[in-house]
C-alpha cells in the first residue's frame, strides 16, 4: 500500500509542475491586465508623471508581457516573489509569516466540520422514516444556506457581545506573549510549555473555526446520509445482518467505511473552498492569517502579493487533492490492486 501511495504522490507532484506554471501564467496575465499601475502605486501620491515613467522602466513594465512573466518566473524559482507594493516587504516572507495561522484555522474548522458533519449525517440517517426526519432535513438545508461570514457575525454577536464568553479579536490574549518557533501558535505554545498561551490560542480559535466549520458541515452531513442510504441497500449489509452482527457493528464496521468514500471526496473539495473561506472570517475576527493579508492585497491592488498568495492557495489545493487521493487508496482496497 505504501508503494502505491508513494507512486501516487510522485505522479501528483509531477503533474503539479505544469499546473502551477499554467496557474502562475494566468494569474500574472490577469493581474497585469487590470487597470492598475504597479509603478505609480509603489510611489507616493506626490510623485510626478516623469517619476512614475522612470519607475515603470525600472520595474520592467515597459517590456512585453511574456518577457515580464519570464523575469518574474526566474525570480520566483529562486524564492523571490517580489516585494509587496503596500508593505514594502518580500511577498514570500509575508506569506510564510501568515500561512501557519490560516492552516491552523482551516484544519480546526475542517475538524469541526467533520465532527458536526459526521454526527449530523448519522443523526439524519438515524431519524429516517420518523416525523423528525423532515424537521432535521429542513434544519440541514437552513444550515447549508448560511455562509461562513454570516456565521462569523452571528457567533461573534452571541458569544462575544451578548454572552461575553469568548474573545473574538486576534490570535491570543494581548496580555500574553506570542512565541515564534514554527509559526504555528498552538504548536509553539506547547513547545515552550506555556499551557496558558495554548489555552488562550484555543479560545481565540473557537469562534472563527466554528464559523467556518458550521458553514461546511451541512454538505458533509447530507452526503454522508445519502451515502449511508445507498450502502444500506447493498447485499453485504443484508449478509452482515444474517451473520448476526449488531446494527452498531454493521454501521461502524461496514457501512460507515464504505459511505466515507464519497464523503472524503466532498471533504477534499470542501477543504479547498473552506481555505478560501478564511478570507472573510479572518477579517471579521482580526485573525492574522493569509486570508486577512489577501483582503488587504486586493484592496491595495498589491499585485506581487496577490500573485504570491494566489499561488500558495493553488499549492494548498493541489496538496489536499493528493492527500484525499492517498486516503482513497488507504480506504479502498480496489485502488491498491489497480
Amino acid at each position: 500500500m505504501i508503494a502505491t501511495i508513494a507512486k501516487l504522490i510522485a505522479r501528483r507532484l509531477l503533474a503539479a509542475i505544469p499546473i502551477l506554471l499554467i496557474v502562475s501564467a494566468l494569474l500574472f496575465c490577469v493581474l497585469r491586465l487590470l487597470p492598475v499601475d504597479p509603478a505609480a502605486m509603489s510611489l507616493p501620491p506626490t510623485a510626478t508623471i516623469a517619476e512614475i515613467e522612470a519607475k515603470r522602466r525600472d520595474m520592467g513594465l515597459d517590456r512585453p508581457l511574456p518577457e515580464q512573466y519570464l523575469i518574474w518566473l526566474k525570480a520566483a524559482l529562486h524564492g523571490d516573489f517580489g516585494r509587496s507594493i503596500a508593505l514594502g516587504r518580500e511577498a514570500g516572507s509575508l506569506v510564510a509569516l501568515t500561512l501557519p495561522a490560516t492552516i491552523e484555522l482551516a484544519l480546526s474548522a475542517m475538524a469541526i466540520a467533520a465532527v458536526l458533519g459526521i454526527g449530523g449525517g448519522l443523526l439524519l440517517f438515524h431519524l429516517r422514516g420518523s416525523w423528525l426526519e423532515s424537521v432535521a432535513d429542513l434544519a440541514s438545508i437552513l444550515l447549508l444556506s448560511i455562509p461562513e461570514f454570516l456565521w462569523g457575525l452571528i457567533l461573534l454577536f452571541v458569544f462575544g457581545v451578548v454572552l461575553h464568553a469568548l474573545p473574538f479579536t486576534g490570535e491570543v490574549s494581548p496580555s500574553l506573549p506570542q512565541p515564534h518557533i514554527t509559526g504555528f501558535l498552538l504548536l509553539d505554545s506547547l513547545l515552550i510549555g506555556r499551557l496558558d498561551i495554548f489555552a488562550s490560542a484555543c479560545r481565540h480559535l473557537i469562534l472563527p473555526a466554528f464559523a467556518l466549520g458550521l458553514a461546511f458541515s451541512p454538505a458533509i452531513m447530507r452526503v454522508l446520509r445519502s451515502s449511508l442510504f445507498d450502502v444500506y441497500h447493498e447485499d453485504y449489509i443484508a449478509q452482515a445482518r444474517l451473520r448476526g452482527l449488531t446494527e452498531r457493528q454493521i454501521l461502524l464496521g461496514h457501512a460507515l467505511k464504505n459511505a466515507a468514500l464519497p464523503t472524503i471526496t466532498l471533504a477534499g473539495v470542501q477543504f479547498g473552498i473552506l481555505f478560501s473561506g478564511t478570507l472573510l472570517v479572518e477579517v471579521i475576527y482580526s485573525y492574522p492569517g493569509m486570508g486577512n493579508l489577501m483582503v488587504d492585497a486586493v484592496r491595495n491592488a498589491d499585485l506581487p502579493l496577490i500573485q504570491a498568495i494566489g499561488l500558495t492557495y493553488c499549492v494548498v489545493v493541489l496538496l489536499i487533492n493528493t492527500l484525499v487521493d492517498s486516503l482513497y487508496v488507504v480506504l479502498n482496497p480496489k485502488l491498491r490492486v489497480h
Binding site: 508623471i49 508593505l87 501568515t98 461575553h164 473574538f168 479560545r203 473557537i206 477579517v283 482580526s286 493579508l293
Partner: protein, 512 residues
C-alpha cells in the same frame, strides 16, 4: 430490519469527539477590568511597515507618532509647534532652512539623537537609494549642512515654502542613523527604535501592536503605561469589540452606529469634523467642457442634505477646498445650493430636464464612509435639474492609473486628507497639473497654481491660495462638498486629546 442507532451511542460518538474542544471552552473568557495604566484600542489598519519614512499612510500616523517623533509637531488646533526642532527659520527665498534640535533627546536604545540622525533621515537615506516615500516629499533637499550636534541647515535646489509643514507631515520622522547602519534595515523594521513617548513592545502583523511607555521620554510622559492596539478591520467587529469591553476605545465606526451609542449613553461617542474634504474632482473637457454645465452641476448639489443624511449633520458643507480654521479657508465665500440657478445655467447651454446633459460619474464604494450612497444621492439631485449621470464604481487603487490614462469620467467623488491644513496640500496639490491627483487639465488654473509653489512669503502664499480657491470654484474646476468626519467611541472614563485633523494619539489617553 431498520437500522437503529441508540441515542446514547450517538451522543457518545458526537460528544466524545467534542470533549477536547469543550475543555478549552470550559474555561470561561473573562475580560479583565481595564487597569488604570493599560488601555486597548480597536484600530482599523495596521502600519504598512515599521520604517516610518517608507510609506505615506495617513491612518498609521497616530501609531508612528507614538513610537517616533517628528521634527515639528502640531497642536490640537493644528498650529505648527516646536518638537525635536526647537526653532527653525526658513530663508526669504525658501532655498534653505536653518534648524536647531533639542539636545536632550535619546532613542529608545539609549543613543543620543543629533543632527547626524537628522541629516541621515532627510538626506543620506534618500540619496542612498532606499525606497522611501520621503524621497519624494524631500526631493528638493540638496544637502543638510551640520553645524553642531544640534544645529543644521537644509539646502534646497528649488524653493520649498512648505518645508516646515512637511516636517510635521506624512513620513517625516527622525530615525536612528547608527542603529540602522550597524544593525541593518531589516533589524530596524523588526525592532524599531524611535524617540517617541512609547516603545514598541510587541508586534504581530495584522493583529496587534503593544506599546510600552518610554519612561526616559524627553517630553511629557504618556499617562497610560501600556497601550494595546488591536487591528480590527471590520467595522462591525470594532462595534462588537467596544460593546463587549474587548476594546476601551475604537475609531472609524459607521455614523449610524455612533448615533446609536450616543442615544444609548453608555459610551462616549463622537462624530468630529476633521481636515479631510469630500469633493468632486472634475474634468475640463467632454461633457464638462461647458462651464455652465459644471457650475450647474455644483449648484444642484444640496450639501447640507448630504451631511444630514449620511453624517448625522456633523459634516460641514464646504464652498472652497479647505476646511474651517485652516489658513486657506474663506468663511465669507459661499457657493449656494440653488437648483433654479442650475436649471437656468443648463438652459443657457441648451440643456434641461427634457434634454439632459449627459456625463460620466465615478465613485469608490467603501473607501470612505457612505461614498457610494453620496454618489447615488448626487445623481438624483442632478437628474432633477437636467443632468443625466452614468454612475460607475471604481477601486481607489485604480484612480491614479485611470487619471494617468485620461480615462476618468467627467466627475469623480474623492476624499482628500491633509493633516497639516496648509492650502498648498489642499488646492495646490489638487490643481497642480504636474501632480497625479486631479483630472482637471487646464493651462490657466494650472499656471496660477504652479506660480504659488514658488512663493516663499507665508502671508503672500496664503493670500494667493485663497484667491486660487475662489477662482477655481467660480470656474467649476473644483467642487468641494463636505468636511469629512471621524467617528470615535470610548469608555466614558477614558479621555484623549482631540486634534483638528482627527489624530487620536495614544500618548494623550488618560483614565479618570
Amino acid at each position: 430490519m431498520a437500522f437503529t442507532l441508540q441515542r446514547r451511542s450517538f451522543l457518545q460518538l458526537v460528544m466524545g469527539t467534542l470533549t477536547g474542544t469543550a475543555a478549552t471552552v470550559s474555561a470561561p473568557f473573562v475580560r479583565a477590568a481595564p487597569a488604570a495604566d493599560a488601555a486597548t484600542i480597536g484600530w482599523p489598519n495596521d502600519v504598512p511597515s515599521w520604517d516610518p519614512n517608507q510609506r505615506f499612510t495617513p491612518d498609521a500616523q497616530p501609531i508612528f507618532k507614538a513610537v517616533f517623533d517628528q521634527p515639528l509637531d502640531q497642536d490640537p488646533q493644528l498650529k505648527l509647534i516646536p518638537h525635536l526642532i526647537k526653532s527653525w527659520s526658513l530663508a526669504p527665498d525658501a532655498l534653505s532652512m536653518a534648524v536647531e534640535l533639542r539636545g536632550d533627546v535619546t532613542f529608545h536604545n539609549g543613543d543620543k539623537m543629533s543632527t547626524e540622525d537628522f541629516r541621515y533621515t532627510f538626506f543620506e537615506r534618500i540619496k542612498s537609494g532606499t525606497k522611501l516615500d520621503t524621497a519624494n516629499s524631500w526631493r528638493k533637499v540638496d544637502d543638510i549642512v551640520i553645524e553642531s550636534p544640534t544645529k543644521a541647515t537644509m539646502k534646497f535646489n528649488a524653493p520649498d515654502p512648505t518645508a516646515p509643514q512637511w516636517m510635521a507631515f506624512l513620513g517625516s520622522y527622525i530615525v536612528p542613523k547608527k542603529y540602522i547602519e550597524t544593525g541593518g534595515l531589516d533589524n530596524f523594521i523588526k525592532k524599531p527604535v524611535g524617540t517617541g513617548p512609547y516603545k514598541l513592545a510587541e508586534y504581530e502583523l495584522n493583529s496587534r501592536i503593544v506599546l510600552e511607555r518610554n519612561d526616559a521620554y524627553w517630553g511629557p510622559k504618556a499617562n497610560v503605561a501600556r497601550v494595546t492596539i488591536e487591528i480590527i478591520k471590520d467595522p462591525s467587529a470594532r462595534v462588537a469589540a467596544i460593546q463587549s469591553g474587548q476594546a476601551d476605545l475604537t475609531v472609524n465606526l459607521p455614523v449610524r452606529e455612533v448615533q446609536r451609542f450616543q442615544s444609548e449613553g453608555s459610551f462616549a461617542a463622537e462624530i468630529d469634523p476633521i481636515t479631510r474634504v469630500i469633493l468632486l474632482n472634475v474634468r475640463a473637457d467632454l461633457g464638462f467642457s461647458d462651464k455652465n454645465v459644471r457650475l450647474a452641476a455644483h449648484h444642484a448639489i444640496d450639501k447640507a442634505a448630504l451631511s444630514t443624511a449620511f453624517y448625522g449633520g456633523a459634516a460641514v458643507p464646504l464652498s472652497v477646498f479647505a476646511t474651517p480654521g485652516t489658513p486657506g479657508y474663506l468663511p465669507d465665500f459661499k457657493f449656494p445650493y440653488d437648483p433654479d440657478l442650475a436649471k437656468q445655467l443648463l438652459a443657457k447651454s441648451g440643456f434641461g430636464p427634457d434634454k439632459p446633459a449627459k456625463i460620466g460619474f465615478a465613485t469608490t464604494n467603501g473607501q470612505f464612509p457612505s461614498d457610494y450612497d453620496i454618489a447615488r444621492a448626487i445623481v438624483q439631485m442632478w437628474k432633477k435639474v437636467g443632468i443625466d449621470a452614468d454612475l460607475q464604481v471604481i477601486e481607489y487603487a485604480k484612480y491614479f492609473e485611470l487619471n494617468r490614462g485620461n480615462k476618468l469620467p467627467e466627475a469623480t467623488l474623492y476624499s482628500w486628507d491633509n493633516s497639516t491644513g496648509d492650502p498648498e496640500i489642499f488646492s495646490g496639490y489638487m490643481l497642480n497639473p504636474k501632480m497625479p491627483f486631479s483630472p482637471w487639465k487646464d493651462q490657466d488654473i494650472g499656471n496660477r497654481t504652479l506660480a504659488l509653489f514658488n512663493i516663499a512669503d507665508y502671508d503672500k502664499r496664503i493670500a494667493g491660495y485663497r484667491e486660487l480657491e475662489r477662482y477655481a470654484v467660480e470656474n467649476g474646476a473644483c467642487m468641494p462638498l463636505l468636511q469629512s468626519v471621524v467617528t470615535l467611541v470610548r469608555k466614558k472614563n477614558l479621555a484623549y486629546t482631540r486634534y483638528g485633523n482627527g489624530w487620536m494619539l495614544p500618548q494623550t489617553l488618560r483614565w479618570s
